[in-house]
């Protein structure tokens, strides 16, 4: 088993639109396949996991079992606060939670939503769950927001601990910050596509994490095109294009040349990532399909498992079988 799945808590972040949710779901499927009791956590009222894997059954803000050993939850700060007060402060807390005034106060406090959210994530990853009767998870995968906001979620507990100094929030903040900084327990991974902007943002994310005393455990490079044509092929293709091919054949040759150019560009971006991050790259293949359903996600989970084991990734394209 790879080092990554030995962690109990994994934050998945990266630039917008690179496939963070997809990678989080694939990691969840992989964890469950290894026999780990796994939960995929979504934040900020996102609900993609349940929709992708279960057609949107079950309630949003509670732990929901998708398949044996695989759970999901979407964390809502309000919901997390009610639960926290009920468990930690007791009956008075319960009364407080239902006080509109207090709710408004808590939700208006800058950073409080982030703190409550990451606090609930932390609670899910504890061996002894705060939630009475709740079984512990072996693996908690967080589908975190894009890099900037993702970072602020990781930072908030420490900031609160520093400002509050003493008292329960300081105490709680310190405990969560220590968990996040514990490299044995927690890993932060970034998802990128082999394109210029996502690669640049991933490299800056690594630096920003480093200045917070955190490190990028792995970078998952998503949607990598397969290398189908080498330099000799390209020469043969260009020659063929000049001969009188049928329109369909010519279009196919042009598509092949274009694919070759894309692969070359993508290789430059992979090289940039490798130069900045070394061994921590895992590649996931491009999925040639209308959209990602369960079969494609299962394929990606396999590819991710293989990639994590070898740290190279085997780039075989994932395709939806032709419909007959």
């Amino acid at each position: 088993m790879s080092g990554l799945l030995d962690k109990r808590l994994i934050f998945v972040t990266g630039k917008g639109g690179v496939g963070k949710s997809t990678v989080a779901i694939a990691l969840g499927l992989l964890g469950a396949r290894f026999g780990l009791r796994t939960i995929v956590v979504e934040l900020a009222a996102q609900d993609r996991v349940r929709l992708a894997l279960d057609g949107g059954q079950g309630e949003t803000f509670v732990e929901h079992e998708l398949a044996p050993g695989l759970f999901t939850i979407s964390i809502d700060p309000q919901h997390a606060m009610d639960e926290y007060l009920r468990v930690k402060v007791g009956p008075v807390g319960h009364a407080l939670g239902s006080s509109k005034l207090f709710q408004a106060f808590a939700m208006a406090t800058p950073g409080m939503r982030e703190l409550l959210t990451v606090g609930k994530v932390w609670e899910l990853a504890q061996l002894e769950r705060r939630t009475r009767g709740a079984a512990p998870y072996d693996l908690v995968v967080v589908d975190a927001p894009a890099s900037g906001h993702g970072l602020s979620i990781l930072r908030t507990p420490r900031t609160f601990a520093e400002i509050a100094h003493v008292g329960p929030i300081a105490h709680q903040g310190r405990a969560i910050a220590a968990t996040i900084a514990d490299h044995e327990f927690t890993a932060v991974i970034a998802v990128a596509t082999p394109e210029e902007m996502p690669v640049t943002e991933t490299l800056s994310l690594r630096d920003a994490l480093m200045s917070d005393g955190l490190e990028l455990h792995d970078v998952i490079v998503n949607a990598v095109y397969p290398t189908r044509f080498d330099a000799d092929d390209a020469v043969a293709l260009r020659l063929a294009a000049e001969d009188g091919l049928s329109p369909a054949a010519l279009a196919a040759v042009r598509a092949a040349l274009s694919q070759g150019a894309r692969v070359a560009h993508q290789q430059r971006q992979l090289d940039r990532l490798a130069a900045g991050l070394g061994e921590r790259l895992v590649q996931l293949p491009f999925v040639f399909a209308d959209h990602l359903d369960r079969p494609e996600l299962e394929h990606l989970a396999y590819a991710l498992g293989a990639g994590l084991a070898s740290k190279k990734g085997t780039i075989t394209p994932i395709r939806t079988p032709a419909k007959t």
Binding site: A104, A108, I163, A164, E196, A289
Partner: protein, 383 residues
């Protein structure tokens, strides 16, 4: 329709859409094109990677617009008849400036800027980043003489966050919580004074005294600015709803971004914001206009000019491309219905994703072409 016709008579162009769809590049290409046509344009961007700044020949973009040297752009063969200015929004600094501007006096401003809750967490107030973006836009509109301002909206996962932001921020500032903290006999004072009362005692128990003291000051100080914030938010809303403002929805042709684009468009229409058109980036165009035959058929046709094994790979690759082209076609069809006859402009998926001047010019050529020219350019790309 070309973007030039679309933005005729407009003073503000807001580009919205979900993350990773090429919003920043599209905003810059729009600004560049309008500047080429003779307008004085500023593009306001949120580009943490600073790649765009470098591409435009600016080491670093500041929180005020800077002129992009025309020579930078001429090298790409573009004649610039107007001026292109660019700035990168610094949300923290913009928020600080807003506080300085709206605070009743210098001492209050100083006090809030020094407040630890404000200093460490102000950018975490829900919607504050989005609010500062549109607020900066408002200042640029009022204080500079640009013909057109192009705003690249913050990269929020929820493309609509920034639309709600002014309202959310003011309702937060107007909230009862603030009033409660502001009153000399209010909750804040009570807690700080004696820590009496159930709510106060529990709050203290939950937060700790230090944090509560900072929070109380933070709320009290912000509370003194409620009216000014509200006035500002109302002005901003008026500006966004004006007929001289254009909202352009930017998306890629994949399913999730298209879902968000449709939702974004509907919300614009429902809230009375001037929805102007859609730009779809990275489109895989159907090469033959209709589905090609099976891979075997193409492979057979290819075998006249290629080795059998290579022909098979070419056919396989062609089939995969076709799957993406069909996916894009379906999603674009979903976008096309409900578009209120507004333009839907397609930009092809290029073989690379260069974010330099050349890359901008390439996108610009598509956006500023007439429909007929664009169709011709696409035909050239794919055939």
């Amino acid at each position: 329709m070309s973007v030039a016709a679309l933005l005729e008579g407009k003073r503000i162009c807001v580009c919205g859409g979900s993350g990773g769809v090429g919003k920043t590049t599209t905003s810059a290409a729009i600004a560049l094109g309008m500047a080429a046509q003779g307008a004085k344009v500023a593009v306001v961007t949120i580009d943490p990677a600073k790649r765009l700044a470098n591409a435009l020949g600016l080491e670093e973009l500041g929180n005020e617009p800077r002129l992009v040297e025309p020579e930078r752009l001429c090298s790409g063969g573009l004649e610039l008849r107007g001026e292109l200015w660019a700035m990168m929004l610094d949300p923290k600094r913009t928020f600080d400036e807003l506080i300085e501007r709206l605070a009743p006096d210098a001492r209050s401003a100083e006090e809030i800027l020094a407040n630890r809750v404000y200093r460490e967490l102000s950018t975490a107030v829900a919607g504050s980043q989005e609010f500062t973006a549109v607020s900066k836009l408002y200042e640029l509109d009022k204080e500079y003489d640009f013909d057109l301002l192009v705003l690249d909206t913050p990269p929020s996962r929820n493309a609509l966050d920034f639309l709600d932001a002014p309202g959310r921020l003011t309702s937060f500032l107007e909230g009862r919580v603030l009033k409660m903290f502001m009153r000399p006999t209010g909750l804040g004072m009570r807690i700080l004074g004696r820590g009496s009362g159930t709510l106060g005692a529990v709050l203290q128990r939950v937060t700790g005294v230090d944090l509560l003291a900072d929070l109380s000051t933070f709320f009290r100080l912000l509370g003194t600015m409620t009216d000014d914030f509200r006035a500002r938010a109302a002005e901003v809303e008026k500006m966004l709803k004006a007929s001289t403002t254009a909202f352009v929805v930017v998306t890629s042709a994949q399913r999730e971004p298209v879902d968000e684009a449709i939702w974004f468009r509907r919300t614009l229409q429902e809230t009375g914001l001037p929805f102007t058109g859609v730009i779809v980036n990275r489109v895989h165009h159907e090469i033959l206009g209709s589905a090609p035959g099976g891979s075997d058929e193409v492979a057979a046709a290819l075998e006249t000019g290629l080795e059998r094994e290579l022909a098979a790979r070419v056919a396989e690759n062609f089939y995969d491309y076709h799957v993406l082209a069909r996916r894009d076609e379906l999603n674009i069809a979903r976008l096309a219905s409900g578009n209120d006859d507004r333009p839907l402009m397609l930009v092809p998926h290029f073989d690379d994703d260069v974010h330099d001047v050349e890359g901008l010019l390439r996108i610009h050529r598509y956006l500023f072409a007439s429909d007929a020219d664009r169709a011709r350019m696409i035909a050239e790309v794919v055939a």
